[in-house]
Amino acid sequence: MTIRLDHLVKKYGRQTVVNDVSLEIEQGELFVLLGASGSGKSTILRIIAGLTSLDSGSVQLNGRDVTRLSPQQRDTGFVFQNYSLFRHLNAAANIEFGLKVRKAPRKERQERVAELLRLIGLDGLGGRMPAQLSGGQQQRVALARALAPNPSVLLLDEPFGALDVKIRGQLRHSLREIQQQLQITTILVTHDQEEAFELADRIGIIERGVLLEVGTPAQLYRRPKHLYTANFLGTANVLNARRNGKTVYVDQVSLPAPSETEHLQNQAVHLVCRPEEIDLALEREQVSGSLIGRGRISNITFAGSLERATVQLIDVSAAKPLHVLLSPEKVRSLGAIPGQEVFVGIQDFHLLPFQEN
């Protein structure tokens, strides 16, 4: 266990920004803390690095209790959203900084800097000042600077937040490669679920200071334990339903209940279904998955490789319009136009205990 957080609590005045967070992260894992802005995810990262004090709880790194230690003694590498390079030092000197304060011999420092410049793909740019580097290059230097003293954990606070989409993609890719090559335990904080999916071994969902749930990207996407998670990760269609026996009732329509939802017996539930799990067809028999009745296409928008449609269910009263993703082929076979009536099937869905929002 490289990182172990026990019941972290942080309050600012009367506001609890980190509320009893416990978490264990394995050696070599890339863990993503995902949450909306202001959810407290950055505060957790800063607590681990010792940059923010905590009110109660403990932090262990590599089995060493560092709760009372200063940032200097914790052996973490930290990367900030705004790069925060030392403006008066060139790229090489920035990377060298951590080695210099540790009084590493000159030769060793130079070798390490050259090695890191190669690793981040900025070979030969060591003499550039931060102002002469692009945002993406600056963040690469910041990453190298954090890695230089060989920290036991790498902490990244929204590292790609200030970069444009294309650079962001490239940097994510490099980060994943470097992280796997070095096998360094890493926590990355982001509000971008796409980023989380692409990078994470596991994701932790933070909402208002609480660590709601932890899981692999697929687990959290397909079988979330909280409605918040379902809505936060991509688009979710949510219908009010009731589970009785082996059947789920959505209004008058009945569907076979997923077997893993046995614990939700005889109670009101939310039926959660992803847009890509909904099938539309012109004939009742052609619908794949469980039939949920008829619907009327109310809107179709082009979304690149797929098309996004909204469908108003006819046989289920008081249901919100469903979001559906359709392949071009499907659109052609349906001849889909707004106002058209179709049969709606659900291929895969998930149940969550009912909660008022």
Binding site: A49, G50, P71, Q72, T76, S84, H88, F97, V101, P149
Partner: protein, 285 residues
């Protein structure tokens, strides 16, 4: 609107090709430049003329006599010493004001600007009341150390410390406030102690501001008159600074001698302002 005015109110709006806006621009420039010229350049020219009117030898004699030389030396020495102390204490004060919270901070912060606004004669009066030979503090120091504060160089130092104190603080403080806090945090996670973080990260960032503040404080000291005439008196070779010397020469009607020393002070002031400009320019580059 402009077009209407040019067309003399007729119903036909005739397009005009007179470059009205350019005229405005040029007249603005002309106004600004000639104002600067009349206000600053002309007096400088006049004083330079007066200084060199009777030839280089006379100019040289006006500054190279024992009394003038000693006054100039006293001014430079006290101003430089005061600037050094003000720079160290001012940087420290600015750092504390930006980085720490303490009770009464807002009031303290407001008080710093007082020497900017206070008539320096008032400063002189306050110092006399505090350190004068008849006062408790003044007589205590004189009896125990044998040194006089007032009517002597230490009194001048005190006055210059007082009037120059805000300069370094007010140049360094805004730069410190704009400093990216994450840079300091990055240094700390990389293992740098607070002391190393200051010397390696914060200090290089605020160094131009510190130097600018020091130069301003020095220039202020060199030009100080009001408080010095009160606390230092006007004892040639002992407590007569350059400005007081000039005053004495003007009083006795010797404008040539006054112009000579004035030119020296002018040259120093000019060097300082150019240096500060250079520092600012480099910072924005």
């Amino acid at each position: 609107m402009t077009v209407k005015a040019w067309s003399k109110g007729g119903p036909m709006v005739r397009p005009t090709f007179f470059p009205t806006i350019a005229w405005g621009k040029w007249s603005l420039r002309f106004l600004a430049v000639s104002y600067l010229f009349l206000l600053i350049a002309v007096p400088i020219i006049v004083v330079s003329y007066k200084g060199f009117e009777q030839g280089l030898t006379v100019f040289w004699e006006s500054i190279n006599n024992r009394i003038a030389y000693s006054a100039l030396k006293l001014s430079l020495r006290t101003s430089a010493t005061a600037a050094v102390i003000n720079t160290i204490m001012g940087t420290l004060t600015a750092y504390v004001l930006v980085k720490y919270r303490f009770p009464g901070k807002a009031i303290f912060n407001a008080f710093i600007d007082l020497p900017f606004a206070l008539p320096t004669l008032v400063t002189g009066v306050m110092l006399v009341l505090l350190y004068g030979p008849q006062t408790i503090v003044g007589s205590f120091i004189e009896e125990n150390t044998g040194h006089r504060i007032l009517f002597a160089p230490p009194g001048i130092m005190l006055a210059l410390l007082f009037v120059g104190y805000p300069f370094v603080i007010r140049t360094v403080q805004p730069v410190l406030m704009q400093l990216d806090l994450n840079q300091e945090e990055a240094a700390q996670t990389l293992g740098a102690s607070n002391w190393e973080t200051f010397w390696r990260i914060i200090f290089p960032a605020i160094r131009p501001a510190i130097i600018a503040g020091a130069l301003l404080s020095f220039a202020r000291g060199l030009g100080e008159f009001g408080s010095i005439i009160i606390v230092a008196g006007n004892i040639p070779m002992k407590s007569q600074t350059a400005t007081v010397y000039i005053y004495a020469k003007v009083e006795s009607g010797n404008m040539q001698a006054a112009s000579g020393i004035s030119l020296v002070l002018l040259a120093v002031a000019f060097t300082i302002t150019v240096s500060i400009d250079f520092l600012r320019g480099r910072k924005h580059a």
